[in-house]
Amino acid sequence: MLSNSSHVPKLYLSIIDDVIESMREVFLDEGLEDRVLDDLRQLWESKIMQSKAVDGLALMKNTINSSNFVLQLPPNYGQTFTKPAASMVIPAGQHVQSFTAKNNGGTLATFSLPPGMTYPVQIPAGVTLQTASGQLYKVNVPVMVTQTPAGHHHLSQAQPRQGVPVVEWRDPSSASQQSATVVPSTVLKTMALPKTEPFPPQPVAPPRADPQTTEQRSLIPPVQPPNEKPLLPQPVVQPPVQENNLVQQPQVPSAQATFSSQTPVSFQPPAQPPSHPPESPFDSGDFTLDGIDFDSPQPLDMSLSSGSAHMPSLQVKMETTLSEGSGFMGQGSEFEASEMVKQEDHGGAVADMTTHLEGLPVDATKLEMALLKDYNYNDALADIIQLDGPADSSSEEVEELEGGAMGENEFLGMMTVEALQALQEVDGSSDDGISSSSGDSVGMDEITVEEDPLNSGDDVSEQDIPDLFDTDNVIVCQYDKIHRSKNRWKFYLKDGVMCYGGKDYVFSKAVGEAEW
């Protein structure tokens, strides 16, 4: 293990050096600053580190000048702290008791890395950093301290960098807004969050400190100048939706986004879309539609009582919707008065229906009302009828009805005699799952599902191929010679990079044998 694993980081470093140096001129020609090239290098190296495919420490040896990183804290930072956590765990297995630190005037906390530590440094959650004067800073969210070449340049960025999460230092003593800049040459990035959070935190604009103070602690490039509004709204959309207990009324950015280790991460989105938009446009109507399933008269009565007074408006509604509808969502109905509704001509049917309604006995009228309402609802929702695909298998006369009739058996609605007959025909003629399906589109889906296995029976190794070639253990190389006799294969390879078991290896020559 020694020979290869010690070669690899050095080799990678040399490759990185080569590439970066040879691109330096090109970058300058493009008018880009050195900073960009160095950014690229940092990103590149940090990703290699993260992949843990290479011995990280060796990789980062020669990239830093100072081993200090400084946290600049606002002057009102509290002095009381929780008791220190256990000793910090640093990557590569080195345990460090504490960072030594110099405390300058209470506003700066400098942490120097102990010898042997190099950037980037991972600081897992729950770790407490201690300054020389005994002040403790607790890290609630795993952070990674990396080094950037420039100092305050990132202060001017107003936009959070995509995908870069921000972490807040928790102030155990107060919930006031905390922010501090990391000076001069370090950038803190959050790692994957602890499991209490369903999502990694989106870039969160740091909450405002006192507006007049210029000292802000922002832990990543999205450092905002004090007067700007936080950019919280967009990024922090997802987590609060999940964390229902934390969704609160939009508030001023006070006490926002303080990570606390006791509770799940509390995001306070300043402006959250309501997490429950109105369920359906019909709920806000004069009557409530209890879903689409009307199996008994009882729900009808409930809705009828509220809706019966609004018959005229209902009729008007019916006209408009019926005229739009191209067909019927045939709804299984136990209502025998459906003969009155003709579905071929909706425009004309409207008049028919209204007159019929007036002439009916009261009970029938009520039922019809409910059905009409329901029809209204469904029709508006389902103007488009699927006439092809699985619905296409039967004869033409039932085509028009099939799309709706098939899947909607359960639903109460208007059905003509023709529709009923058609359904019966359909049930008789096609046995492959069209009839008596439950639910809307499940009927359709069942048909497709049944047909697909038939077609895909020809394909033997369909599942093999994508899975087979999807592996993390990859060797990328060149071949000198590939030899086969009968089923014995011999490989003569060269100049390869291997990755297996999560680690990287290289070779100049490789010889292998395999039997097929």
Partner: protein
């Protein structure tokens, strides 16, 4: 021009990701990123040819083989990789190999 084969390695992928990030933040142009990748291809080809001097043996069973466009792709199972010092076993490994003969590649270059 060198093989772009090595872009799908840890080193190459991390470079591509970093370049993508810079492109997204509009710090570099895609054209420039492409230049970087081409430079990477050259650098890694040279480095592997000149700076690596070790030998590996392996043995396993061949699951699939494919030869297309002068590129061999194998999937091996239950492979043992043996270097001078140590031995590593893996269940499944994919080998992608381009033609190692010098002339083969260079003739393709227009």
């Amino acid at each position: 021009m060198a093989y772009q084969l090595y872009r799908n390695t840890t080193l190459g992928n991390s470079l591509q990701e970093s370049l993508d990030e810079l492109i997204q933040t509009q710090q570099i142009t895609p054209q420039l990123a492409l230049q970087v990748l081409l430079q990477f291809d050259k650098a890694i080809n040279t480095a592997l040819a000149n700076r690596v001097r070790n030998r590996v043996n392996f043995k396993g069973s061949l699951n699939t083989y494919r030869f297309c466009d002068n590129v061999w792709t194998f999937v091996l199972n239950d492979v043992e990789f043996r270097e001078v010092t140590d031995l590593v076993k893996v269940d499944k490994v994919k080998i992608v190999a381009c033609d190692g003969k010098k002339t083969a590649f260079e003739t393709d270059v227009v």
